[in-house]
Symmetry: D2
Amino acid sequence: MNLWSGRFSGTLNPLAAQLNASLPFDQRLAAEDILGSQVWARAIHQAGLLDDEELASILGGLDEIRQEFENQQFSFRESDEDIHTAVERRLGELIGPASGKLHTGRSRNDQVATDFRLWIIHAADRLQNHMLDFQKVLLDRAERDFGTVIPGYTHFQQAQPLLLSHWWLSHFWPIQRDRDRLAQLAGRTAVLPLGCGALAGTAFPIDRQALADDLGFASPAPNSLDAVSDRDFAAEFLFWAALTGVHISRLAEALILYSTAEFGFITFSDAYSTGSSLMPQKKNPDLMELARGKSGTLIGRLAGLLATLKALPSAYDKDLQEDKLPVFEAADTLELLFPVVGGAIATLSTHPDRSRSAIQTPVLATDLADYLVKKGIPFREAHGCVGRAIRRAEELGVPLASLPGLEWQAIHPAFEEDLAETFDVDQSLARRAAWGGTAPQAVRAQINLAKQMVLDSG
Amino acid sequence: MNLWSGRFSGTLNPLAAQLNASLPFDQRLAAEDILGSQVWARAIHQAGLLDDEELASILGGLDEIRQEFENQQFSFRESDEDIHTAVERRLGELIGPASGKLHTGRSRNDQVATDFRLWIIHAADRLQNHMLDFQKVLLDRAERDFGTVIPGYTHFQQAQPLLLSHWWLSHFWPIQRDRDRLAQLAGRTAVLPLGCGALAGTAFPIDRQALADDLGFASPAPNSLDAVSDRDFAAEFLFWAALTGVHISRLAEALILYSTAEFGFITFSDAYSTGSSLMPQKKNPDLMELARGKSGTLIGRLAGLLATLKALPSAYDKDLQEDKLPVFEAADTLELLFPVVGGAIATLSTHPDRSRSAIQTPVLATDLADYLVKKGIPFREAHGCVGRAIRRAEELGVPLASLPGLEWQAIHPAFEEDLAETFDVDQSLARRAAWGGTAPQAVRAQINLAKQMVLDSG
Amino acid sequence: MNLWSGRFSGTLNPLAAQLNASLPFDQRLAAEDILGSQVWARAIHQAGLLDDEELASILGGLDEIRQEFENQQFSFRESDEDIHTAVERRLGELIGPASGKLHTGRSRNDQVATDFRLWIIHAADRLQNHMLDFQKVLLDRAERDFGTVIPGYTHFQQAQPLLLSHWWLSHFWPIQRDRDRLAQLAGRTAVLPLGCGALAGTAFPIDRQALADDLGFASPAPNSLDAVSDRDFAAEFLFWAALTGVHISRLAEALILYSTAEFGFITFSDAYSTGSSLMPQKKNPDLMELARGKSGTLIGRLAGLLATLKALPSAYDKDLQEDKLPVFEAADTLELLFPVVGGAIATLSTHPDRSRSAIQTPVLATDLADYLVKKGIPFREAHGCVGRAIRRAEELGVPLASLPGLEWQAIHPAFEEDLAETFDVDQSLARRAAWGGTAPQAVRAQINLAKQMVLDSG
Amino acid sequence: MNLWSGRFSGTLNPLAAQLNASLPFDQRLAAEDILGSQVWARAIHQAGLLDDEELASILGGLDEIRQEFENQQFSFRESDEDIHTAVERRLGELIGPASGKLHTGRSRNDQVATDFRLWIIHAADRLQNHMLDFQKVLLDRAERDFGTVIPGYTHFQQAQPLLLSHWWLSHFWPIQRDRDRLAQLAGRTAVLPLGCGALAGTAFPIDRQALADDLGFASPAPNSLDAVSDRDFAAEFLFWAALTGVHISRLAEALILYSTAEFGFITFSDAYSTGSSLMPQKKNPDLMELARGKSGTLIGRLAGLLATLKALPSAYDKDLQEDKLPVFEAADTLELLFPVVGGAIATLSTHPDRSRSAIQTPVLATDLADYLVKKGIPFREAHGCVGRAIRRAEELGVPLASLPGLEWQAIHPAFEEDLAETFDVDQSLARRAAWGGTAPQAVRAQINLAKQMVLDSG
């Protein structure tokens, strides 16, 4: 069955029908399609286009169809070209000709845009919960691992010591921004296309604000032409997914490195590791790698949809059918990645002795420069002095901390006996006590703020 | 000059220096860098690291450098590897060794992130104004062209008649969403990295909230590690630019088609047309094509930055230097496209007779189906009847409006004499009077809402 | 079942297992996996690792599994994490412990790379045939439509008249390049990873050249580490698909425009058109739009895989599992698009009167300039003269061909009586007789070359 | 000056002119434009459109202009909208009205396509040399570092030992494929658009094969419409650049990791390292990071051009002007990356003791399984036994090599005294002697093949 063949004398070529069919993927919109149709039935009843009996019959029939979907008893027919057709066809089977009134004043253009927006709003709710759970895992690690020290890196070279808790939290805040973005885009998605017809608006006296209220949307779309062809919300969702994927990828990449034999800061649990078909010893971070790899795919999905949208003239074109698969795929990917990556993080072991002992003395070089600054030496000069000390220690083949006092003096007389205190990792940490720094007290304050963020949403 | 050579014995290979140099593009951050440095100077003075005299000297020196930039008198040296180095080098020339204290407790990592955020916030302000102006052009056309009728399209086939004003407004609302997105991302950008040092926070007692207030940021970043490596704001800006570009591209594409000999609905003014070196008759919409083409480039810029970000482990890596050129290019592109496309729209001529006469009768088919609906025929049946009428007219080789009454009756007895009234474009328009539709009164209401949107921001 | 759990004490988390599982998509490699395993069995038999009986048993078992797949009787188990595991598990069920010898000296890393390359080589063969068929459709149209004239466009403004045959052929040559690219990449794909083990090579005396010969590959990969992590062939395939998609998109876009009411040069057959659920009159080029839209998706797939690959250090990482879905999807898309777009083109009607009469006189302006050139006027001057004539005709409100002789003379005395002959579309066509031009004789020659290209591959 | 204003009464809006201007970037085509014009002059002289004197004058004038460019003495005027206009304007200044004949029968459409193809062909030559030099660096390292052993990784977990030479060569072969791809695309680029006019062919009797020969192209394009709008060569070049960038990125990523304190396998020379403005000790692999980061940008450039191309109907549209900047940028990037990354590799120090001692015993697990295989145990069973041995050693807290004999026997009786020999890294290497493996003799053979590849191109 299709909804449009009146004027056609030939039938669609079978391969063309296969290309045209969206049912394989848009059947995921079933619940939203039924909900939208029930709301629409009430609206056209209000407008006098259905009598009470017809309304009851349609609503009841749609309820029955919803049940069939929920019980996985709904049977598609080969001739159903999309979910809208399938539902309308089944409604006809259940309630007879009255079903033919449901599409009055409505087009599949406004219908599918409504269904799809609803689906994204629902997915955003689920994803907010996943992100919240994920943030709780990070927060929990920040608390459990308090006191563990790791080398901090820039350019993946050791830079300054860090509290591991601070590092975990550095991955908490990107997710906080992701949550913020998702909430904002969900808000923008809640603008209702229904009642816009194919492009020009509906010819019946529909109260579209009531329709929006009934469906939980913030407001009806103000321009019918824009409403049926706008896919900003899908592009925004894919961008959100791509950027969220980038955050997961960066975290996964770091964890992969920390779990190498060479770094050895963490070990993943068996529940989140896999092995090799050839090499019996292997315990691989495959799941982190899949998380990392899938973020590339998410970037491509965004670029693909934008390329498709960019090529359209205004108004609805069938190219827009390419919008759904990437959105479904992106939501599925992230609904899987958050619990898996979260589970892997929650269950990994840390090796505090290993990570502390990995810290090499030169990471305290900034502290040495700051030592001079506190004695009134301009920082730029202090930086140069410490650089020369490091070079000198390398020339002499001794660790920086063992560079003789005379050598220090030769570089700058302000290097005095109290210099030794500078070579202390805990002191170095404690010095970075300004808001946002890695000093234990600052990290405690940061944890409190992060908790507040989670509680506010919980 | 570079800021880091103390520990090095060799010098940088010249090609490596060329690859490493960011000055060719980051010099655009000069104003922001100076502003950020002045704020930082006040903060370390507050923290007791500068005395009053040193502060005054630094602030004065920086003011002088700003003047030099504003008067295009600043001289770069080949050894300046980036804008931060250039400014600090020049400050040393102007005020001597006190300049060496400015970098105390600060890293280029937090410095450049601050500069770049400031730059984007400033660019967002300019772009908001451009968009507002562009919306005014569309609004103005909607008012000037009120009454002009065009065929509306879906699948670029004639679908239903539209008011041209409605069509112009369908391009107003995407820009409204773009403005909304830009405002939200600018808000998220106003989180201050300064005071986060290289990665671990600053070792001096800096009041970062005061710093944020002084620089007009909403709050200091809560995690130093995240603060120096977060480029979400740049990715968001590029996504905003890409999606805005898509909107411009879709509009440009439609205008290009409307200006063809075959459509003939509009003519661009000479001020926004170009010719051909070979074909003397040509008057080409090159500018619309460039607008359309550049939106592809913007999509690529977004995909490129995401691919770069995705590959990084957490913390600052030099790969992040790839963030600036695409952002600058995207801002430049849109700061040029808005006034040019806006100018082209403001000055084009419409051909109302041509666009009205282009409307073919079958676009009223939905009205014919609605005619039956109003007589109680279920829409689905009505749709089929009209489809058959169209097929019959094609078989007989007559326009639909000239199909004899007997033929209509043969299709459905509810087709009666009053059918003739349905064949009227103005009535068709008037019927679509629900909110968001193309009926004149609905479009008037839409114009009022659009005006309010513009006034609220003006 | 998995192939690696010996050293593990815990079991994989169920969601992690779901993320890790590649079976849902890599089962498409079944035929290639079985073929590769048979070849491998012969190679390790040759190396003395299997006796004759074991070899026969393994080959027979694999044949039986192949049958099961061909008859769709193969049963997967939930524990099969990928196609390799499923086949090896089933082989064990069929032939017992001897199956455990098949994986000797082999890793899933070299195995999957081999399977995937084989799959692409097979897909390339099918796609070459699709392209050849598609080129034949274009060639056939070029012959059937010989004599039909259309306006040629640049910037979608009428530029110069064209033979429709010439236009069809302008879409033949891009496909010829696509075929060339596909053949070259298939050649590069035929380099064999098998025998490279997990990364370091196999520890058994395998004759890898014989292995390559047996499997129809050109040569064994020269470096084991590169061999297991190289996915250039997948990226090349996706680029080929994306660029081929661009060609189809550009063709589809043009056909969509030519089928509008306003252009009216072509009408799609009912077998390749669809309708509207709301607007009974609509006959939409949905299939062309899907072709156009899917090319955006293909671009995204390419960008996505490149982003994933770009982020990897050398050697095999699990991120590479993201390589298969996009390749399968791209091949499926194009295996469907070619016959559908080809069918639409083969069955569309042209409207030669309409397209000829659409040509507006100014498209002959270049001919007018050339007229002056032939009288010795420098082209640049001639171009200006014709431009002024067009402007003058517009001022007088007359068609260019009706501009009075005195006006022409006033512009340039070389405009003489014989000018009238220039205003002839067929003469204009005939003048462009240099190789590659639109003159009938040149197009005939072009058709002959195109035929040769098709014959050479047929 | 522009080449097309005859028919225009208004002048171009200044911002529109700025958007339209391509001179800021297409001036890089100056040499190619002049060369193409000289060849064209000879062709139209041959066709009788220039007399001998005019030809000599034009050729001489163009030579003079070339000199001006080479000496950087050419003065652009603000009114020059592109390089073609600038050259033709200057020619007029130098030789007077005869210059006006040069554009006879030619359009900027075929002209710029010719110039751009020439530019890419020239760039491809330069890039082939860069790649060859880069391969020589890798080959040289493979020879110099022969004997150095490193842990080989999959999933960045230690997998099996490798010769460092083998690892260097694993980066040689991708470049070999890049060279192959570049040569093939350069061949496809050498198809000549010149003589195709604006879209329909030239109206003068030009011998286009002679033209192709004169300019060093393989053949004239067979279809004028395709010839002026085909940008496959630009897309191919960008894909080549993106994939080549991926190869450099993967290599850079690995080197960055190998240069960390934790891995410690290599140290970059000072000539290819940079420092930190804040942390005096830092020696950062910025250049490798820039190489890695720029590969993201290259991916974006490809996606961007494809998105632009995808949106075009057939024939020339101004959107194509977006083709040049990304190609120039990609070529510049790679012309810089190859020598810099090559220089960094040539000058880095290796730490053979460190990398050998980093190898952990379990990487020999595959050898242990192979040990059992050689005693007739099916591999799958052997794999399980070794896995259990590893688990047992972990439980007992002893290194695998120190697991008592009784424990081995308990796992499988085939583990006998000679097992000890398996725990030898050099033996493990030597076993992988099949073609493509890491055994010294296999690597020697591989080096010889690689040398042959380089010699064949040298």
